[in-house]
Amino acid sequence: MTRVVFIASMCALLLATAVRARPREVSINQENPAGALAIVVNQANPVDGLTLGELRRIFMFDTQTWPNGRRITVVLRDKGQPERGEAIRRVCDMSEAEYDDHILFQTFRGSIGWGPRSIMSASAMLRFVFNAPGAIGYVPADQVEGTKVLRIDGLLPSNPGYPLRRGARGR
């Protein structure tokens, strides 16, 4: 009897550890329609939404501070990852190589203090945005956790017509 209880206890402990190791995923909705990209910011960020043009200006470093004066930190996926090129194409309407050229040119002009940060995974992206009050990044819409999702052109990723879903026409 003691042995059974002991084994059951150890199993329960192991199960609890496994649950604790995997972050509880909370979706703002239960579906990710057609590969929608959620734009995420720190929960303390007072901005609730952006137009696609404003988002583009942020990613292109034409706008570098939030309305509250905090420096914007643009966070992208690591170079070589398809998620990086996909986000650049959808938001900035250019290829990754063109974007890199643009960032280097603006840095060379002295217009940019530092370029975008590079992050290896969606979970790392969420951790960075959670910890950095001025950060803005992106994750698949079904992987949002602990961050605020911005409305783009007034729409959430689950809304029809959301501009950052696969196949949507950018401006």
Binding site: S9, R109, A124
Partner: protein, 370 residues
């Protein structure tokens, strides 16, 4: 003893099945983000200055129909571009250029830019140090970055001072830039105050400011530009520069430069046009000089043909720059970017300069970033 063991086992089971999972569910999800990851990906400046070094290199070959000018390979500038973020708001930029001027391996080192920038917000960014003056568009856009220039060489009016240039390309002072509020990033301004150019005869080296000002008069430059969101890549702007240059201890020349430009630049298309009027005013005389260019290029894959019309009209009587002479050129060429960060340009030039008209020449240039 057996009861004690069973009681302990039950307590352990209760703890592991009930208490621990409750604590797991009860933890805010934010804790998962914080635990063990607070030091990941620090923000700029959080762990000390982050310094990045890039370099821009150039190798050239040129030939001309002039017999006295042999065809030749040459090393262009090696531009070392250093940036460092001291904090979220403060950064440093330095551009050190090494140029080979002589037949041997000697190089001349120039500190072309050194500026510390404080970025308060999008509306106010202030830099102090040595920078490229915000006259017109080309100078503050391309600096010494031959990689970013589509044709070979700068427009004649934007030549560097030590290369027979007519403009104060470099300044030592303070520059303020930003977005005009309530314009949605469309309207931008620049305002600068600096020592101004130290004018010496064109043939001499060191015609730019590096040390203390030669007089109390300071140069000023103001400009505005407009980038409509509806027409991405399009920009128009104007600037006005003035300085007082002393010819002698008692006579001075008022030096004005008015510039206007329109550019359309996307990754695949570049259309640029600028016109500048340089005015020198002495006691009783006013000398007008004009310079400008029109430039167009279009990329088809890795190939990018281009054309530039380049013009500089100098009044020979103008103080300081009259001896430079006028210039006109038609340039047509092709740029190929075989791999990322490498460009190869080849162009044909037909120039009128220094009493020689219709001189034909070819130039090639290899540019790279590393």
């Amino acid at each position: 003893m057996r009861d004690h063991s069973q009681r302990s086992a039950c307590i352990l089971l209760f703890v592991s099945v009930v208490i621990v999972p409750s604590g797991v569910i009860g933890y805010p999800s934010s804790v998962f983000a914080q635990i063990g990851h607070e030091q990941e990906h620090p923000l700029p400046g959080a762990a000390g200055p982050e310094t990045t070094l890039r370099a821009f290199g150039t190798v050239e070959w040129a030939a001309s129909q002039l017999r006295e000018v042999p065809n030749s390979f040459s090393l262009g500038q090696l531009s070392l571009f250093v940036t460092s973020n001291l904090t979220e708001s403060v950064s440093v930029l330095a551009e050190i250029v090494l140029e080979g001027h002589s037949p041997d391996t000697q190089v001349v080192t120039d500190l072309e830019r050194l500026q510390l920038t404080f970025r308060l917000n999008d509306f106010f960014n202030i830099s102090a140090g040595r920078y490229h003056s915000g006259i017109g568009f080309y100078n503050a856009a391309f600096h010494h970055g031959t990689y970013f220039e589509i044709p070979i060489g700068r427009p004649r009016v934007f030549k560097f001072e030590d290369d027979g240039g007519v403009l104060p390309i470099h300044e030592l002072g303070v520059t303020v830039r930003g977005v005009v509020p309530h314009t949605g990033s469309s309207l931008r301004y620049v305002a600068e105050v600096a020592n101004g150019r130290v004018w010496t005869p064109v043939a001499e080296e060191g015609t730019t400011e590096r040390g203390p000002d030669a007089n109390d008069a300071k140069s000023t430059n103001v400009g505005v530009s407009y980038r409509p969101e509806r027409w991405r890549g399009f920009e128009v702007g104007t600037s006005f520069y003035r300085d007082t240059i002393f010819q002698t201890a008692t006579s001075a020349v008022d030096h004005h430069i008015a510039a206007i430009y329109a550019v359309y630049r996307t990754p695949s298309t570049e259309l640029m046009a600028e016109w500048l009027r340089l005015t020198h005013v002495t006691e009783g005389s006013t000398y007008h000089n004009d310079g400008g260019y029109v430039q167009a290029s279009k990329a088809w894959g890795k190939l990018r043909p281009y054309y530039r019309f380049d013009r500089l009209a100098i009044n020979p009587a103008t103080p300081f720059i009259g001896a430079i002479g006028s210039y006109k050129a038609h340039i047509v060429g092709l740029r190929i970017d075989p791999v990322k960060w490498v460009g190869l340009k080849a162009q044909y030039e037909r120039t009128d300069e220094s009493g020689q008209y219709g001189v034909n020449g070819v130039r090639t240039q290899l540019v790279f970033v590393f």
